[in-house]
Symmetry: C2
Subunit: 282 residues, 2 copies
Amino acid sequence: MFDLKSYLKARAEEVNSALETYLPQDGQYMGNLGEVMRYSVFPGGKRFRPILTLAACEALGGSRATAMPAACAFELVHCFSLVHDDLPCMDDDTERRGKPTCHVAYGEDTALLAGDGLVIYAFEVAAKTAELASAETAVRVMRELAVASGHEGMVGGQILDMDAQHHGADKESLLKVHRAKTGALIRGASRAGAIIAGATPEQLQAITEYGELIGLVFQITDDILDYQDDPDPISFPGLYGMDASRQMAAESTERALACLQSFGDKAEPLAALATYLLSRQS
Amino acid sequence: MFDLKSYLKARAEEVNSALETYLPQDGQYMGNLGEVMRYSVFPGGKRFRPILTLAACEALGGSRATAMPAACAFELVHCFSLVHDDLPCMDDDTERRGKPTCHVAYGEDTALLAGDGLVIYAFEVAAKTAELASAETAVRVMRELAVASGHEGMVGGQILDMDAQHHGADKESLLKVHRAKTGALIRGASRAGAIIAGATPEQLQAITEYGELIGLVFQITDDILDYQDDPDPISFPGLYGMDASRQMAAESTERALACLQSFGDKAEPLAALATYLLSRQS
């Protein structure tokens, strides 16, 4: 039987080891920037986005090694977004993953620049796909990364989220916020893995839908877990109610699993990931 | 005789028109982000970096149209850097080019995200090189963009500059700061144009040296112009003295012109640009 826990642990270790190799040491043109970038990437969380890239690539018969730069690029963008989200002008958070946030540890100016350095470096890392796959594939992956991260993806979603916090939101605008803010990167990370594996248009479509659906489940579960401590009215339980939110998550998971049918056993990790996202307690 | 003023005007208009086409309108996934990104890009300055990309491409026999996405990508990175530089945690500037800075006009959180949106979008625009030249060329150009902008280039230079402001600097560290902070993007913009034109290794080397030298001249002249109003000790006139700074700028311009010899008449714009940077009064 497939053991998701061991799978996630092994993949997270691979990702961490690749990030360790890719991330720069302090050099003559960067002062302590290498240290600050590492501080913002390690020890890290579940490495969920890069694992998705690797698992999507394997589901389509590709090798994890070929997808590793792209996987790490999506994680670097995720880490960049956390550093900038934590800044005083955004969420003004002082702690993350049990340690001081980047700007508390190194100052606001340095944290701003470390975030900038991480998002730019993500593209340099993604470019390594050219040597492992092809230049065409690398360009496609870098486009996915930009579209998922930028004004029509994560960054645009953050703007919509700020609007929603100020002016309120209905069900439709909540969906829009999350489709962009958290969904786009999860969708893009999945697509990148499929593209690297040489997906046909139909396969890419299936993985895209899978990514969209589990992105939604990810956010609903997040909202449900947060709602117990902080009943935010602009959240899935706040706008849909707890029962309808749980039902939406369960149905989306079913649909995500259906997207994987044509890939057979090789999609077992993707399927287990989807089921896990629905039932996770943290 | 070559008329640099008309050349610069015509090229800046082409760049503005391309940027106008590329830059997103407000869309359903971005709130007012399109407006804020445009606010940070227009009316703009001299468009010096993208013009360098176009001129370097033409000097090697390439077409300006092929180099336009890459040219605009370098300008978008330049605009991103201005938005983040102006933030309260950095230079805390309230006015730029005669209008309120982005965070004064739209708030600090929105300005932070607009900068993030611009730098990410730069890579999306640069990816258009794949359709106009080749995927291989696009990957090379996107790598140039990342290296020039990131931790070993502009962003790293900003960290070094902050160190220098806090702890002082000698001649060598001043050169290091500027080679990264302003030099890397100017060098990279020149190289991108040459790469798109299909430069041989020797040609690329000549353009690289040209870019490095005019980047230095750009900064020395900037420092000399600023020194009259604000005699900053950490500047070329402050550390080398006014006469030695002027001499260094003149010698670097001579050397930059020498790099262009093998390109003949087609390099006239690059040569005129170099001479202009030495003598500019604003």
